[in-house]
């Protein structure tokens, strides 16, 4: 196999159908970009769950009556609630935080907004049991068992907030991946079409090749490589788009949330780590499409 020959055939082929080639590259790039966004979201959701799951707590807020009168949780119903929580199966630890401590924490959290701190009175902050679970996803048990008990104002499950957030992200991910699949389908058709066109514009060469006894591989390889080269360029474009997306859109829109540690941050390394995946997928799909097209539609 003479590589210089195959290479020059590929270049001629791509140049001859330059508009189709560009369309093919663009659709491939967009499709892979959307696929990449989907993967980034998967990564983000996964990381978020890893980061937060271990820190999640269920907060059992006590009524203002208890909060005001029972600083050290020595009286009923507070002491009873505590031992009930401690003996519930699946509970890892129970920390009692009285009104003063709660107020301190509040002040610390909202340090940046002194006007908010000024407005808040310690009396508004309830005493709280901060309950850590062995399995944070089983918070329902605590919520159900303790809501409405004497001395309990309400039971908050932080996990619910997180799951709402990750539900939202999962929805976005599914939408983006569905778009990616649609785009991939369009890219597939374009690749197939371009190869057919390419084979048609070069039918004289191909006919001569067949007549002088060139093997099927020799005849088809330039077309296949054409598709793969377009796939590679498309994948590189997709990685570029992802980097731009991350730097100029994601960082700008979600930057505050990243810094506040609400969303687990993504960095450029994540995009870089995705690129071999995108490249592999692209090469595989374009080669496969090319091969099937040549088999089905082009008599070589």
């Amino acid at each position: 196999m003479r590589t210089s020959f195959v290479f020059s055939e590929v270049v001629t082929g791509l140049r001859r159908n330059v508009t189709m080639t560009i369309a093919m590259i663009l659709t491939t790039a967009i499709s892979l970009f959307l696929f990449g966004v989907g993967l980034l979201i998967v990564l983000m959701v996964g990381r978020m769950q890893d980061d937060y799951l271990s820190q999640l707590e269920v907060s059992v807020l006590l009524t203002s009556e208890v909060s005001a009168n029972d600083k050290d949780c020595t009286q009923q119903p507070c002491a009873g609630l505590r031992s009930a929580l401690e003996t519930t199966s699946g509970v890892e630890s129970v920390v009692y935080e009285n009104r003063e401590k709660g107020y301190e924490r509040f002040k610390k959290i909202f340090e940046a907004q002194p006007e908010l701190v000024k407005l808040a009175r310690p009396e508004a902050i309830p005493s709280t049991f901060r309950v850590k679970l062995e399995d944070p996803e089983r918070a329902d048990v605590i919520v159900q068992a303790f809501t409405g008990k004497a001395g309990v104002k309400s039971v908050n499950d932080q996990g619910q907030v997180l799951s709402r957030l990750s539900d939202f992200l999962t929805g976005v991910r599914d939408g983006v991946l569905a778009l990616a699949v649609l785009q991939a389908f369009a890219a597939l058709l374009l690749i197939s079409n371009t190869i057919q066109l390419s084979a048609y514009t070069r039918r004289t060469e191909v006919n001569i090749m067949r007549l002088v006894g060139a093997t099927r591989w020799y005849t088809q390889l330039p077309f296949l490589i054409e598709a793969v080269v377009a796939g590679i360029i498309g994948a590189v474009g997709a990685v570029g788009l992802l980097a731009v997306f991350k730097l100029f859109l994601l960082d700008r829109v979600l930057g505050d949330l990243f810094r506040a540690n609400i969303f687990s941050p993504l960095n450029l390394l994540d995009v870089l780590l995705l690129s071999p995946v995108l490249l592999g997928v692209s090469v595989l799909i374009s080669a496969l499409t090319g091969y099937v097209t040549l088999r089905l539609y082009v008599r070589l």
Partner: protein
């Protein structure tokens, strides 16, 4: 070298067979004219030898290839031992004379140094030395056909198939092309030429196989075109 045994070919588009129980044998080094009116089956005959088509019935042998039965993978080997020339030359217009000839070797993976050596040799054989760097459109019809013959012959095929090679050429140029084909025939290559050209067939006095409606109606060892008309 070429042998057909009870070969019939029926196309889906026509109820009448293109070839109807044809049996014929052509030896190594023979020069054979295949004549007959349009639609008599000449093209089908040639296409069967190249395995562009498979026969509906019967067997086809070229050299030691069982053409009808061979696997697709071996078809390139068959075609590498057959050279082809056409009425419309079929040159690559964007390549020079030498590149056109070299193309036939490149695509079957011949090494560069072989190509560099044999292309000028074959161009000299067909009388085109000095025109290696011309483009096809700069050449006359006869010269273009010489390029096509050079391309067909450069890999030293056992068989040369020529489908109306003089169809687009004036009589004098046609004579030159025939001389060239004779010269190639003298190297031991079997030449099978489909043609309508009376004067050429009559002047060459070679074997003539005449087809009509898919049947062989005449096979003369030293024939002319017009017998029985």
């Amino acid at each position: 070298m070429i042998r057909l045994e009870h070969v019939s070919k029926v196309y889906k588009t026509s109820p009448r067979p293109a070839l109807d129980n044809v049996s014929v044998e052509m030896g190594k080094g023979e020069f054979v004219f295949l004549i007959g009116p349009s639609g008599s089956g000449k093209s089908t005959f040639l296409r069967l030898l190249l395995r562009e088509e498979v026969p509906s019935k019967g067997r086809v042998y070229v050299s030691n290839f069982d053409v009808a039965k061979m696997s697709r993978r071996r078809v390139p080997r068959l075609r590498q031992s057959i050279g082809c020339v056409f009425q419309d030359f079929r040159l690559l217009t964007n390549k020079t004379v030498a590149e056109n000839v070299a193309f036939a070797l490149e695509v079957i993976g011949k090494p560069r140094n072989t190509i560099v050596k044999v292309v000028p040799e074959v161009l000299q054989l067909v009388g085109l030395d000095g025109k290696a760097d011309r483009m096809p459109h700069e050449l006359s019809g006869g010269e273009q056909q010489r390029v096509a013959i050079a391309r067909a012959f450069v890999n030293r095929p056992l068989v040369l198939l020529a489908d109306e090679p003089t169809g687009n050429l004036d009589p004098d140029t046609s004579q030159d092309i025939m001389l060239l084909l004779e010269r190639i025939n003298r190297t031991g290559t079997t030449v099978l030429m489909a043609t309508h050209d009376h004067s050429i067939v009559d002047s060459m006095r070679r074997r003539v196989v005449e087809l009509d409606q898919g049947r062989i109606i005449r096979d003369d060892a030293r024939g002319v075109y017009g017998v029985g008309r």
